[in-house]
């Protein structure tokens, strides 16, 4: 709304910026598909997400005009992603620290023998410890 009297040159420039954005996005798509055929191990996920984030940034800045828009809109958008990041961060904390909830560990339950010498005395064998007969399972402790 701020450019009420758009000049012809501005119009040309804006149309060209959309075209360049599209070409960059298509280029990155080709790169990400190509990279997926090469085995980088754990790197594949990182590369795919990095390229996707680059593409998303291009879309937000140029197609969604955040590069030239009033700052408040960008602030709202960034705030949304910060909250998503918080969500993801706490989720990752949970995944990476709560070992006993992973089913692979449940396949071979940790036998309740003495913990190896030197191991921290943290009760890691929680899932394998069968509750006394007749005890109602704690809410939320559903396991298969």
């Amino acid at each position: 709304m701020s450019t009420h009297h758009a000049h012809v040159t501005d119009e040309k420039a804006e149309a060209r910026s959309y075209l360049l954005t599209l070409l960059a996005l298509l280029f990155l798509t080709v790169i990400t598909v190509g990279a997926s055929y090469i085995d980088f191990g754990q790197g594949n996920v990182v590369i795919a997400l990095a390229i996707a984030t680059m593409k998303a940034t291009l879309v937000a800045l140029f197609f969604m005009h955040l590069a030239h828009d009033k700052p408040v809109n960008g602030l709202i958008a960034v705030a949304g992603f910060i909250f998503l990041g918080l969500f993801l961060m706490f989720d990752l904390l949970d995944i990476t620290t709560r070992r006993d909830a992973i089913p692979q560990n449940l396949h071979a339950p940790v036998v309740q023998t003495a913990t190896p010498a030197g191991a921290p005395a943290v009760p890691t064998a929680a899932p394998a410890a069968a509750p006394p007969a007749g005890t109602a399972p704690a809410p939320g402790a559903k396991k298969e």
Binding site: S2, T29, A52, V59, M64, N73, I76, L84, I102
Partner: protein, 233 residues
């Protein structure tokens, strides 16, 4: 509607709109057309954040389950057609370009051109959904279905819930995204008709701009869906 309040404006229309110039009105609680536009846009961005968080929750859930069933998720993703996903990515990116051009045409008083760009965008949405329908049909035939309905034969890890979990997420997320594409396409068609009628100009193109933002968000979600489902090893 505004009869109970003191009408500060000399309102010739007798409703709650105020004449800003010869053709366009803003509602009486706004001072200018520009203020009205900016307010609408902030509202749209707030809505888009709720969309990001909706899909974000599903992405986080997908990540959790991938962590839980890494082997099954890799095997299950081999059933997705990478070419179909890549084509759909290209189609959506192109449609974002035509959407941008439609907004640009609308705000530079080129209604007919805006309508053409909008119809091309609708066409892209239709192609996207056709590819999706083709993919879904293929999954249905192979029994690659969500949760309880999963009955595909030939999985390497027999009895694992990982495969059906993968397809639960696949159908939930691509389905919700597809729903957004359909709703977006309907809104775009409505915009195209209005643009053709000459309802938009540099003074008033708010609906084109805001639905444009929505359309770009749909593209943005797919930008993450595509590599995570089709490409991850």
């Amino acid at each position: 509607m505004s009869t109970s309040t003191v009408d500060l404006h000399d309102d010739p229309h007798g409703d709650d709109s105020v004449v800003d110039d010869a053709h366009h009105h803003h509602q009486h609680h706004f001072t200018t057309m520009e203020q009205q536009f900016d307010t609408s846009k902030i509202g749209m961005w707030l809505f888009l954040v709720t969309e990001v968080l909706t899909f974000g929750g599903l992405f986080v859930g997908f990540g959790l389950m991938q962590n839980r069933y890494p082997q099954e998720f890799i095997e299950a993703h081999e059933h997705l057609q990478r070419l179909a996903g890549a084509s759909n990515t290209g189609i959506l990116l192109f449609s974002s370009y035509t959407m941008g051009m439609a907004v640009f045409a609308a705000k530079t008083n080129q209604g007919a051109k805006a309508a053409r760009y909008l119809w091309v965008t609708v066409g892209c949405a239709a192609i996207f959904m056709c590819v999706k329908a083709y993919e879904y049909t293929h999954k249905f035939e192979e029994g690659l279905l969500p949760g309880y309905f999963y009955h595909h034969k030939g999985d390497l890890i027999v009895g694992s819930h990982g495969y059906s979990t993968f397809f639960s997420f696949y159908f939930m997320m691509t389905g919700l995204h597809g729903l957004h594409v359909v709703i977006g396409a309907i809104l775009l068609g409505w915009l195209a008709i209005r643009a053709k009628r000459g309802e938009f100009s540099h003074e008033y193109y708010t609906p084109v701009d805001l639905i444009g933002l929505f359309w770009h968000l749909v593209d943005l979600v797919w930008i993450y869906l595509f590599p995570l489902y089709y490409l991850i090893k």
